[in-house]
C-alpha cells in the first residue's frame, strides 16, 4: 500500500499532526479492508440497517402521504373502535392498531397480510410489522455494540494484566474464565429476570460482563503474551516506564486491532443471545425487539402447528433481520481479520 508523507512544519500544532496521522492510518486501513469482498458485504448490510433505523421516525409520516387515501384517514379518525387522532398511533410498535382492520375481508383476527398500508402486514394485535422491525433496529444496535464494547474493554484489560503479571493474577482470572465459559447463561437470566426487570441496557451490561470474563480474556491474553516479550517492552522499562506505563502505553495499544476484531464477533453473539432470550420470553415487552416479535408470533401459535407458512410475515422479517445483522458484523470481522493478520492477506 502507498503511504502519503505528511509534511510537517514545527509551527504546526501537535494535535493537528496527530489528527492527520489518524486520518492517514484510517485511510490505509480502509484501503486494505476495501479489498475484502466479505467485509464490504457486511458493511453494506450494516449501512442498510442504519438507514432503516434512521428512517423509522418518518415512516408513519411517509405512509400517511404515500399509502393512505383521504377517505381511509377520515374513516380511521371516526372509527367506532380505536379511532385515531394521529397517524403515529397506527404505527406505534407496541400499542399501535389500525382501526380499519375490521373492515378488511382478507384477515384472521387482527392479522393482515402485506398490503398497501402495511407493507409487511400486521400481527395478531393489529400492529404494523415493518414499524416494529424498524423501531427495534436501534435497540439491536445499541444492545449489540454496547455489550461488545463492555466485553472487549474487560477482555483487553484483563488479558493485558494477566499476561503482564502472570502468577497468581493469571491463575485467578483463567479459572474465572473457565467458570464464565461454562456459565449456564439462560438459567441465570431466568433467575435474574424474576428478581429484577431486565431492561435492554441491563441486559447489555450483563451479557458484556459474562462474555468479557470468558473466552475473549483467554484469546486476548495470548495476544498480550506475544507482545509482552517484544524488545520494545524492555526498551520502555529501561527508559524508566513503570507497570502502568508499559501496560497502557505499549501492550494495550498493540492489542487494540485484535480487540476491535473480536468486538465485531461479539456484537454478533450479543444480538444472537438477546434474540434467544426474547424467544424464551425472558425480556419484558415494554418495547419491541426482533426476538420479542418472533416470540409473540410463537406464543400466538402462528409458528408451530403447520401454520408457519400461512402467516410467514409474522416471523420471516424479524428472523431474516436477526440473521442478516448478525452475519453482517461477523463478515465485517472477517474483513478486518485480513487487515489485522497480514498473513491472511493474499499479497
Amino acid at each position: 500500500m502507498q503511504r502519503a508523507r505528511v509534511t510537517f512544519e514545527p509551527t504546526q500544532a501537535l494535535w493537528r499532526v496527530r489528527l492527520q496521522l489518524l486520518w492517514r492510518g484510517l485511510k490505509s486501513t480502509w484501503a486494505m479492508f476495501a479489498e475484502s469482498k466479505i467485509g464490504l458485504t457486511g458493511l453494506g448490510i450494516i449501512i442498510f440497517f442504519i438507514l432503516l433505523w434512521m428512517l423509522w421516525p418518518i415512516y408513519p409520516w411517509l405512509m400517511e402521504r404515500l399509502a393512505w387515501t383521504p377517505e381511509e384517514l377520515e374513516a380511521a379518525r371516526n372509527a367506532p373502535y380505536g379511532a385515531i387522532s394521529s397517524i403515529y398511533q397506527v404505527y406505534d410498535p407496541v400499542t399501535g392498531y389500525d382501526p380499519l382492520i375490521p373492515l378488511e375481508e382478507n384477515r384472521e383476527g387482527n392479522i393482515l397480510p402485506p398490503s398497501r398500508r402495511h407493507p409487511l402486514g400486521t400481527d395478531q394485535y393489529g400492529r404494523d410489522i415493518l414499524a416494529q422491525l424498524m423501531a427495534s433496529t436501534g435497540s439491536e444496535f445499541t444492545l449489540g455494540v454496547l455489550a461488545a464494547l463492555i466485553t472487549v474493554f474487560i477482555g483487553t484489560c484483563i488479558g493485558a494484566i494477566t499476561a503482564y503479571y502472570g502468577g497468581f493474577v493469571d491463575t485467578f482470572f483463567m479459572r474465572l474464565a473457565d467458570v464464565f465459559i461454562l456459565f449456564p447463561l439462560v438459567s441465570f437470566l431466568i433467575v435474574l429476570g424474576s428478581m429484577m426487570e431486565l431492561t435492554l441496557l441491563k441486559l447489555a451490561l450483563i451479557l458484556g460482563i459474562l462474555f468479557g470474563f470468558g473466552q475473549i480474556t483467554i484469546i486476548l491474553k495470548s495476544q498480550a503474551l506475544a507482545i509482552k516479550v517484544k524488545p520494545y517492552i524492555e526498551a520502555a522499562k529501561v527508559a524508566g516506564g513503570g507497570h502502568f506505563h508499559v501496560i497502557f502505553r505499549h501492550i494495550i495499544p498493540n492489542m487494540l486491532p485484535l480487540s476491535f476484531l473480536y468486538m465485531m464477533f461479539n456484537v454478533t453473539s450479543a444480538i444472537f443471545s438477546e434474540a434467544a432470550l426474547s424467544f424464551f420470553g425472558l425480556l419484558p415487552g415494554a418495547r419491541t425487539t426482533w426476538g420479542i416479535m418472533i416470540d409473540s408470533a410463537h406464543s400466538g401459535g402462528y409458528i408451530l402447528g403447520g401454520r408457519s407458512f400461512e402467516y410467514w410475515w409474522l416471523w420471516v422479517p424479524p428472523g431474516v433481520a436477526i440473521t442478516l445483522l448478525c452475519s453482517a458484523f461477523y463478515l465485517v470481522g472477517r474483513g478486518l481479520d485480513e487487515v489485522v493478520n497480514p498473513r491472511l492477506r493474499k499479497r
Partner: protein, 345 residues
C-alpha cells in the same frame, strides 16, 4: 580518542564484582526448581569513563544477560554493580556518587535509569510499531516528566539531526515500518541519547543490519563517544566489529569471562585456548594477523549446573589432570592489563 583516554583513563564508571545470574530450570509443574542455568557466573570487570568495553563470545554465553543486568532490566542473583550515577543528571561529575545499583528498587531504580540506556539487537522489534518516531524518541522524557511538549519536540528534532536523520521534520511523525533497518537503529540511538546517559549498553546493534550500512551506525556510536564522553558496553559476536569499536574486550564462555584485555593485545596475542580457537575460527580482515587453526572438540552446551571445574574443560585441547580436579580457574593478570583464566598459561 587518544586524548580522551589519557585524560580519563583512571576514572572508573562501572565496576562489576562477582556478578551472577542463575535462571531456574523448570523441572515439573509442582516441583521446585533444583537445577539452574548459570547464565552469568561470577564475573568481575571495570569500565572506564569514555571507554568502549567489548563483550564477545558465541551465542548463549551470557552476553545479553550481562547487558540486561547492567541496565537493571533483570536483578542479579548475587554480586555488585557499582556505577557513578548523577543524583540529578543535569549536574556534572561533581554531583555524582558511586553506588551499588544491583539491588535498587522503586524510586531509586527509576532515578538510576536516567543514567543508563540500552540499544537492542533487533531494530525491527525494539521500536513500538504503533508509535511515531517522535513518541518513541521522546518517551524517556515523558516518563521522567522532563520539558514541555514543545521543548520535547525541539529536543527530539535536535537528536534526530545528531544521529543523521535529516531533515528531522520529515522523520518526526513517521512510523517505524516506514524506515529502513539502519534508520531504525539510528532512531534507537537517538532515543538512548535523549536523557544524556553516561553509559549505554549496545547489544549487537549492527548484527541485524545490512553489511553496507553497519559501518555508518558504528561510526555514529564512535562519534557520540567522542562528543559526549559516553561509555559503552558493546556486545558482539563479531571479532572484526569488536576490533573496530572497542578499547578493551572481555571474552565470555558459558557465563564466565575467560580472557580480558586491550582489544589489539587480546587479538594479536590471545592467551586462553578458547580465545585462540575463536580467533582462528573467524576470518579477521587484517592480513598482518597470523593464525594457526586450533581445533576444539564438541559444541557449546548450556551451562546447567556446571561441574565445579574449568567450564572449557570438555573442549579444551590442552587440558591436564590439574584442570580436572580444580575449580574454575581465576582471572589472573598476565601483564599489560591482560587477564586470562587458565591454569596452563
Amino acid at each position: 580518542m587518544v586524548a580522551l583516554q589519557t585524560q580519563t583513563k583512571t576514572e572508573i564508571l562501572v565496576r562489576v564484582e562477582n556478578l551472577r545470574m542463575l535462571y531456574p530450570v523448570a523441572t515439573g509443574v509442582f516441583a521446585r526448581a533444583r537445577s539452574f542455568i548459570h547464565a552469568v557466573d561470577d564475573i568481575s570487570f571495570d569500565i572506564n569513563r569514555g571507554e568502549i568495553f567489548g563483550l564477545i563470545g558465541e551465542s548463549g554465553c551470557g552476553k545479553t544477560t550481562t547487558g540486561k543486568l547492567l541496565v537493571r532490566l533483570i536483578t542479579p542473583t548475587s554480586g555488585h554493580i557499582y556505577m557513578r550515577v548523577a543524583q540529578d543528571p543535569s549536574t556534572d561529575s561533581q554531583g555524582e556518587q558511586f553506588v551499588d545499583i544491583a539491588t535498587l528498587e522503586g524510586r531509586a531504580l527509576k532515578a538510576f535509569r536516567r543514567n543508563v540506556q540500552m540499544i537492542f539487537q533487533d531494530p525491527y522489534e525494539s521500536l513500538n510499531p504503533r508509535m511515531t518516531i517522535f513518541d518513541i524518541v521522546s518517551e524517556p522524557l515523558s516518563i521522567h516528566g522532563i520539558g514541555s511538549i514543545y521543548e520535547r519536540e525541539e529536543r527530539v528534532a535536535e537528536l534526530l539531526s545528531l544521529v543523521g536523520l535529516t531533515p528531522p521534520e520529515s522523520f518526526l511523525f513517521r512510523y517505524p515500518h516506514e524506515l529502513s533497518g539502519g534508520q531504525r537503529q539510528r532512531v534507537a540511538i537517538a532515543r538512548a541519547m535523549i536523557l544524556n546517559p553516561s553509559f549505554i549498553v549496545a547489544d549487537e546493534p549492527t548484527s541485524m543490519l545490512d553489511v553496507s550500512i553497519r559501518t555508518g551506525v558504528m561510526n555514529l556510536m564512535l562519534d557520540l563517544r567522542e562528543e559526549f564522553g559516553i561509555s559503552y558496553l558493546y556486545i558482539t559476536h563479531d571479532l572484526a566489529v569488536a576490533r573496530y569499536m572497542c578499547d578493551r574486550i572481555a571474552v565470555m564462555y558459558l557465563g564466565k569471562i575467560v580472557e580480558l584485555g586491550p582489544t589489539e593485545e587480546v587479538i594479536q596475542n590471545p592467551l586462553h585456548p578458547y580465545t585462540r580457537a575463536l580467533i582462528s575460527a573467524v576470518p579477521i580482515p587484517d592480513p598482518t594477523v597470523e593464525r594457526q587453526p586450533i581445533e576444539i572438540k564438541g559444541g557449546v552446551s548450556k551451562p546447567i549446573d556446571p561441574p565445579p571445574r574449568c567450564r572449557f574443560y570438555e573442549r579444551c585441547p590442552i587440558a591436564t589432570e590439574r584442570c580436572a580436579h580444580s575449580d574454575h580457574p581465576p582471572l589472573e593478570d598476565k601483564g599489560n592489563g591482560h587477564f586470562a583464566a587458565c591454569y596452563e598459561i
